[in-house]
């Protein structure tokens, strides 16, 4: 006897749900890069609302249940507050370019280094392991507060949290791989007003984290070969740079979306940029900034030892110039380039002062 006969009514089916669906007959198709998030933006399923009223956490496009509890409590329900146009593409790229700090870095290429270089490398690694995960903690918090209707942006932030976890980890590994150890923390990302952690608006946070903070770090990672002494370090910087470029792209593309869709917020965003520029060299979150605890090790690495500190410092100043140039390009690309034309931005002045200091 089957259980159907034993249990009787339990086996009767209601089936009312079968006609309660989102748009039917949907047939997403694979593209050259597989079945990507962009490929499933079909019909209604690709429509992202400007304002989301989804407080139950249902997948965008699914049929709602009228009795569902409002368990979402999402703070971010306005598209422009978090959106960027190429989130799907960047997310898929993030998935394709995941790497392992355990096995993709040729650790065996590390050979003992002179003490001053090893100390500088370890101090830099301590600093990086300290600050990398601010870019994990903070996006995670926003992930938890964003409606799933904007899931493409949210997926990308989740990938960033993953990337930063690996960054925190690869620099810790470097500090312990070559006869050194961790050194002194800087306190660079603590809880003070205007810090990445404490921003209460996503765009303010993104301006500070993605555009100025990670932008500055990206320039340094891209120059990694100038401060690397073996293939392991080169690989480490290069792989991190690849990830960092996506994080910076988030900020730029988000700001561009804001520039295009939220003119009422332009002035406010310019204020965030004013603050970000003021801190770009004076704050200790930029390893090429003015704080000796990070700029000195960097100069030693760039120069090739304490004896060549002057040469290293010159390179560091060149690196700062490069950071500022790249920063300006990004802000222009984000649609806020007018500030460099109309005298609002003081970034060049800040740079010259820093060089003379």
């Amino acid at each position: 006897m089957s259980e159907a006969e034993k249990l009787g009514p339990d086996y009767e089916l209601d089936l009312g749900w079968m006609d309660q669906t989102g748009p039917w007959d949907t047939r997403a198709e694979e593209s050259r890069n597989g079945l990507t998030l962009a490929d499933i933006q079909v019909g209604e399923y690709g429509r992202v609302p400007d304002e989301s009223d989804n407080q139950t956490g249902r997948p965008r496009g699914a049929a709602p249940r009228s009795g569902s509890y409002r368990i979402g409590n999402y703070a971010v329900r306005t598209k422009s507050e978090i959106w960027l146009d190429n989130a799907s593409f960047l997310y898929e790229e993030a998935l394709q370019r995941q790497w392992s700090s355990a096995t993709d870095v040729p650790w065996h290429t590390i050979e003992p280094l002179p003490d001053d270089i090893e100390q500088a490398q370890c101090q830099m690694a301590t600093f990086l392991t300290e600050v990398e995960f601010v870019a994990g903690d903070v996006p995670a918090r926003w992930v938890s507060q964003t409606t799933p209707d904007f899931f493409e942006a949210r997926q990308l932030l989740t990938a960033q949290v993953m990337d930063e976890s690996r960054h925190m980890d690869v620099f810790r590994k470097r500090a312990m791989a070559n006869g050194g150890g961790l050194m002194a923390a800087t306190g660079a990302t603590s809880g003070f007003v205007g810090s990445i952690d404490l921003s209460r608006d996503f765009t303010e946070m993104s301006a500070r984290l993605h555009i100025s903070g990670e932008g500055a770090v990206l320039t340094i990672f891209r120059m990694g070969e100038l401060m690397a002494y073996n293939d392991a370090e080169k690989a480490m910087y290069r792989l991190c740079a690849q990830d960092e470029a996506r994080h910076v792209a988030y900020g730029v593309m988000h700001m561009r979306y804001m520039a295009e869709t939220a003119p009422e917020r332009h002035e406010e965003i310019n204020c965030y940029l004013d603050e970000a520029e003021a801190g770009i060299l004076s704050g200790s979150a930029n390893p090429a900034g003015q704080a000796p605890i990070v700029s000195e090790p960097l100069a030693i690495l760039l120069g090739g030892g304490i004896a060549k500190f002057d040469e290293g410092f010159k390179k560091l100043v060149a690196l700062r110039r490069r950071q500022i140039q790249e920063y300006k390009k990004r802000v222009v690309s984000a649609g806020f380039g007018a500030r460099f034309e109309n005298g609002r931005s003081r970034i060049n002045e800040i740079l010259e002062q820093a060089a003379a200091a």
């Binding site: 089957s2 159907a4 249990l7 086996y11 089916l13 089936l15 749900w17 079968m18 309660q20 989102g22 047939r27 997403a28 597989g34 079945l35 499933i40 997948p59 699914a62 049929a63 569902s68 998935l95 394709q96 370019r97 995941q98 790497w99 392992s100 355990a102 993709d104 601010v134 903070v138 995670a140 918090r141 992930v143 938890s144 799933p148 949210r154 990938a159 949290v161 993953m162 980890d169 810790r172 312990m176 050194g180 150890g181 961790l182 050194m183 002194a184 923390a185 306190g187 990302t189 603590s190 809880g191 070969e225 100038l226 740079a241 690849q242 304490i306 010159k314 100043v317 490069r322 200091a357």
Partner: protein
């Protein structure tokens, strides 16, 4: 290793290097005298961790003072464990500051394993093996995919809400949870993709009472883990195990198998953490028992909702007709597997447990 990663790992000259070399010829630069106050500041120097069989792993770094993981971590800055902290820094504001609230010995290994076993729904799933299915089956698969996607959504929200509240001293856990959140994002995505690829679409949103209790367990991470892992996590794992056996194509089989593999890590972390929490907090065992007893009421409300049950029975039975007999038999079998494993886990944790009325039919008889 993906091609792009390989290319990046290879040493090539950066296009920016020349710019810097030229700029170094900068005249009139005032160069400060280095103060070097940071030099020779280390709590333990001379560490040389070598890569092992699995490369240079996170867990292998726990040597000497770097492996000392205290039960409390009052420091609320991002001072890396083992580094010399900077005094006078305002706290970032971490809520979870004791080891008992977050720790699992397996976290570091699970982190590395998650990275090694990464997969991409876009390119690793053999999507071309999905062929048109009879309407009732397609509707059932789409309904189950919708609910599994929504479950993953809850996982994303809960993990990301807690992870950033954990202090730096237990970085292994933060790092493992970064992989778990990323896994959940992938699950959210892969089930959506499955629903939209084969002439169907998303179905009806889930019943949502278990979702609610996971999201509303705001008292602590351990309490969230009770619902996220011991109830929902194990339930999903059981569903996936059965779905894999009744999959209609290679793509679905691949999805169920890989999601299961990811979820197994979350189960391992969760059980490991609960065991640790119980061992270090006298009242924890009773708290877990209370949470589970209260949770039963909400689980039963979801259980009484016919949608997921019927959709699964159709998949297991191959059609609506099949669902009325063999399909529902398999469903009940699946519920028995869930309840008995759940009870085994509770027993392993030594948490007292009594299965309530409508679920009693699934509990082992002895």
């Amino acid at each position: 290793m993906a091609k792009a990663v390989k290319a990046a790992a290879k040493a090539v000259k950066s296009p920016h290097a020349d710019t810097v070399r030229k700029a170094v010829a900068a005249p009139m630069l005032e160069i400060p005298e280095p103060k070097l106050t940071w030099m020779n500041k280390s709590r333990q120097w001379g560490v040389r961790v070598k890569p092992g069989k699995k490369g240079l792993t996170l867990g292998s770094l726990n040597v000497g003072i770097y492996g000392e993981i205290p039960m409390d971590w009052p420091d609320q800055t991002r001072n890396p464990r083992g580094a010399i902290g900077r005094k006078g820094m305002p706290p970032v504001g971490y809520m979870l500051r004791s080891k008992a609230e977050v720790w699992a010995d397996s976290a570091a290994d699970l982190y590395e394993e998650a990275i090694q076993r990464r997969w991409a729904p876009a390119t690793d799933v053999p999507w071309n093996t999905v062929k048109p299915l009879p309407d009732d089956l397609e509707r059932a698969v789409c309904q189950v995919s919708t609910e599994l996607s929504q479950y993953a959504n809850v996982e994303i929200e809960v993990i990301s809400a807690w992870q950033h509240q954990m202090v730096y001293g237990y970085h292994e856990v933060k790092q493992y949870l970064a992989t778990a959140g990323f896994d959940a994002a992938r699950h959210y995505e892969v089930f959506r993709k499955r629903a939209l690829i084969n002439g169907g679409g998303l179905g009806l949103e889930g019943a949502g009472q278990v979702n609610r209790m996971i999201l509303e367990s705001r008292g602590g991470w351990t309490e969230a883990v009770v619902y996220l892992v011991l109830v929902r996590g194990l339930f999903v794992q059981t569903i996936l195990r059965y779905l894999e056996q009744y999959a209609y194509n290679e793509a679905e089989r691949f999805i169920y198998r890989n999601v299961m593999q990811d979820k197994a890590r979350l189960l391992t972390y969760g059980l490991d953490h609960l065991k640790f929490a119980i061992a270090h907090n006298e009242d924890q065992k009773q708290i877990i028992a209370t949470l589970l007893a209260i949770g039963d009421g909400l689980f039963i409300r979801d259980f009484n909702d016919p949608v997921l049950r019927e959709a699964l029975a159709i998949i297991f039975g191959g059609s609506i007709d099949g669902a009325r007999g063999a399909g529902m038999d398999v469903y009940h079998d699946m519920m028995r597997a869930y309840i008995s494993t759940h009870l085994e886990y509770c027993q392993w944790l030594d948490v007292p447990r009594r299965v309530p009325e409508p679920l009693e039919q699934y509990a082992p008889q002895d």
